[in-house]
């Protein structure tokens, strides 16, 4: 649970996008587009509906004509190329009118309990212009240009779970199709990708008339939806320790189950080899100019080469082949390569690990309650299990607490500042669990081991949040990042990567130490191609299973 490790995680079978596409294919969800009312300038509205066995969900999309000077992927932007809400059901005209007054202004508007998410996207101007221009002239766009960017639009925020008036998680959590984390948000992005393809073809037709052609489905399939993610996401995994634990624990359990496979069948091995070959291509397309990621990509490509060499002579017939491979990787590969392999080796074993997806939600509201009868000694032990390393850190040294997390007055955006250069310390958010655990531990020194923690908390309510976390860690051992989240050297992109990898994102491209661009659903089947055969391994790029 070190940040370096979390910042090297890769998508896997348990990623939320793949959970969704598998479910939609398995249950035969039906797609329809009841509304597409967009003019020649690209302004209007559209509705995209997916209907499952019990319920339907609709993306209500608004397309805008955005001047270039207003296009910003900062969360504090005020206008976008397209804005969206995921509606719970199929909207009536009155719902669409209500949303038309609120969704285009995003945070400045209000949505209701009928909406499950609120989001927006901007065009990749360069690629958008190229694709519209080519299609309008009757030819297909340049493949290299498509792969260079990877998407026609990128979302700059996807809000769910009660934000801006939307339905709370509890409203949908008991529905089987929404029980796993972020399924509403993932569905919203899945349908956004369909809308974007339709819109680019619509604009090309408006521009080119009879000469215009539609985007070759094979090319369309390469395109994902981009996303720019800033600091807002980093606090999330600290603020939801039980939920984040469940993600990590289920993936670790999946890895353990596969390592426990005594003998790999020829089919399992063949699938692993095929997907590895496809991954060589998709990792080859992964671009970044950020020095940290450039080094990591270099290491990953070398790791994949090393893995290919290993496989040449690997004895899959001897006992526990996957376990042996993991042990080999511990010394032979970088953290990127180790996590890549750990995710890849789960692929042949859907029957063994896919049920773990159900354990990734946080269904345990009682974890919040502090057990006041727990002894001070036991709490001290728990603090040390997660943060033993932090007890000897000099937390007054500037380098160890150089940063402070705070929320800005304008737009309420989470930020990371320099504690000793900006007047932000009074506004600090509780996002340094290691430092706070060390402080609680120090305060507990004077208390006897057998005193109930309730007595301590009555005198020291300032340590209540740390004691709560310590008790949560008892049942959620992967809930705490075992690193300093306010050090001068912290890279918030590591936290972003950890969360986004569980979404199923690929092509991580850090743009600084605190924001990252990614791609979602690249190579995924569109609704008309979604089937049991296509629903699972799309993330590895073109090629059969």
């Amino acid at each position: 649970m070190r940040l370096r490790r979390l910042g090297s995680l890769h998508q896997c079978r348990l990623s939320f996008m793949r959970i969704l596409t598998r479910r939609m294919a398995r249950e035969g969800w039906a797609f329809s587009r009841p509304v597409f009312d967009i003019d020649a300038r690209g302004v209007g509205r559209a509705v995209y509906t997916m209907r499952g066995p019990e319920r339907a969900y609709s993306l209500v999309a608004f397309a805008h004509d955005l001047p270039d000077d207003q296009r910003s992927d900062r969360v504090i932007a005020e206008a976008w190329d397209a804005t969206f809400a995921l509606f719970d059901g199929v909207p009536e005209p009155a719902d669409i009118e209500r949303l038309a007054r609120n969704v285009p202004v995003q945070e400045a508007g209000r949505v209701s309990e009928r909406e499950l998410s609120l989001s927006r996207a901007n065009r990749s101007v360069r690629l958008w212009t190229h694709v519209v221009g080519a299609l309008a002239e009757g030819r297909q766009p340049d493949v290299a240009a498509l792969d260079e960017v990877g998407y026609l639009m990128r979302t700059t925020a996807v809000y769910g779970s009660g934000k801006f008036g939307a339905a709370d998680r509890e409203v949908i959590a008991a529905r089987p199709e929404m029980h796993e984390p972020f399924q509403a948000e993932m569905l919203s992005v899945y349908l956004t990708r369909v809308f974007v393809r339709d819109l680019v073809e619509h604009m090309a037709a408006a521009q080119g008339g009879d000469r215009a052609v539609r985007l070759d489905p094979a090319l369309a399939r390469r395109l994902g939806i981009g996303n720019s993610t800033g600091l807002g996401m980093a606090p999330y995994i600290i603020n939801h320790p039980v939920l984040f634990n469940n993600w990590m624990m289920m993936r670790e359990e999946a890895i353990a189950r596969v390592r426990g496979v005594a003998a790999a069948t020829a089919n399992d091995v063949a699938l692993f080899r095929r997907l590895l070959r496809r991954a060589v291509v998709s990792v080859g397309c992964w671009r970044s100019e950020h020095p940290v990621q450039v080094d990591k990509l270099h290491a990953l490509r070398a790791d994949i080469d090393a893995l290919l060499v290993l496989l040449d002579g690997f004895d899959f017939d001897a006992d526990f082949p996957w376990d042996r491979m993991v042990i080999w990787a511990e010394d032979a590969l970088s953290e990127e390569g180790q996590e890549f392999l750990a995710s890849l080796m789960l692929e042949p074993y859907g029957a063994l690990v896919d049920d773990l997806a159900e354990g990734m939600a946080d269904d345990d509201p009682d974890a919040f309650r502090i057990d006041g009868t727990m002894t001070a000694g036991k709490v001290r032990d728990l603090l040390c299990i997660s943060f033993g390393w932090a007890m000897d850190v000099d937390w007054s040294a500037q380098t160890n607490c150089a940063r402070a997390w705070y929320v800005s007055e304008e737009k309420l955006e989470p930020r990371l500042g320099e504690r000793f250069e900006e007047p932000i310390a009074p506004y600090e958010q509780p996002l340094a669990p290691a430092r706070d655990a060390a402080a609680a531990h120090a305060a507990l020194v004077e208390w006897d081991d057998d005193v109930p923690i309730a007595a301590f908390l009555l005198q020291h309510p300032e340590h209540r949040h740390s004691v709560r976390r310590a008790q949560m860690s008892h049942r959620a051992p992967y809930g705490e990042i075992r690193d300093n989240t306010i050090s001068a050297h912290v890279l918030p992109i590591d936290m972003l990567r950890a969360k986004l990898s569980f979404f199923g994102a690929t092509q991580f491209d850090p743009r600084s130490d605190r924001w990252v661009r990614i791609c979602m659903y690249a190579n995924a089947p569109y609704p008309e191609d979604l089937s049991r055969e296509t629903a699972d391994f799309w993330v590895y790029g073109a090629g059969g299973p």
């Binding site: 800033g230 502090i370 955006e413 990371l416 009074p426």
Partner: protein
Amino acid sequence: MTMSFNEVEALAKKATRGAGYPWGLAEEAAKAVRWLYARDVDGCAELAGLLAQSDGADLTAWRPVQNGSRWAPKGATLCPIATGAALSDEAEALRDGELRIDQVVHPILLAPFACMSAKHLDMRVTIAWDGTFASTDGEALSIAGAASIPVADVAVTTGGDLDQPRPYCSRAKPAPDGLALLQHLARRTFAPATDESRLKGAGAGLSDND
């Protein structure tokens, strides 16, 4: 206008912090407000009633001093959040009989903590004051009498009737005054933006025209 529970919870947490409470108690206050709204009680109004008095006060004077089954304020009145947290932490004490808690401000804010105690004990728990009885079995809340009162001496016991259950709600409808006060207090947790923080703090600041 209705608000989601997430919105009122986030607001209550910031407002409580903004009024000077430590983060752990701010988290408790936020969960308490959410719990009350789910049972059709205006949690923001109750919390605002408390914070209007405790804002800026020396909170050590608002904590209970425990003398067996009698809890009393060190100062004039007790904070229901700090007291409620202790009530939940020490739920086991209710097995020994009635607990008397003096001078609790906005005592309905104790109900969410009584609920946690009830769930832990697997028994009903009732808080009572001036002819009002608020009972919970760890899930439902029943209130006989007036829910909202500025301050009262409270008795906490196990047992009680659930014959006047509050309806379950999925949205919060806060009254404007309480909401406005919480928003005012919440703003104190936001750092004033500077040009430097706009650029450095979020890390980007680039055009999106590529």
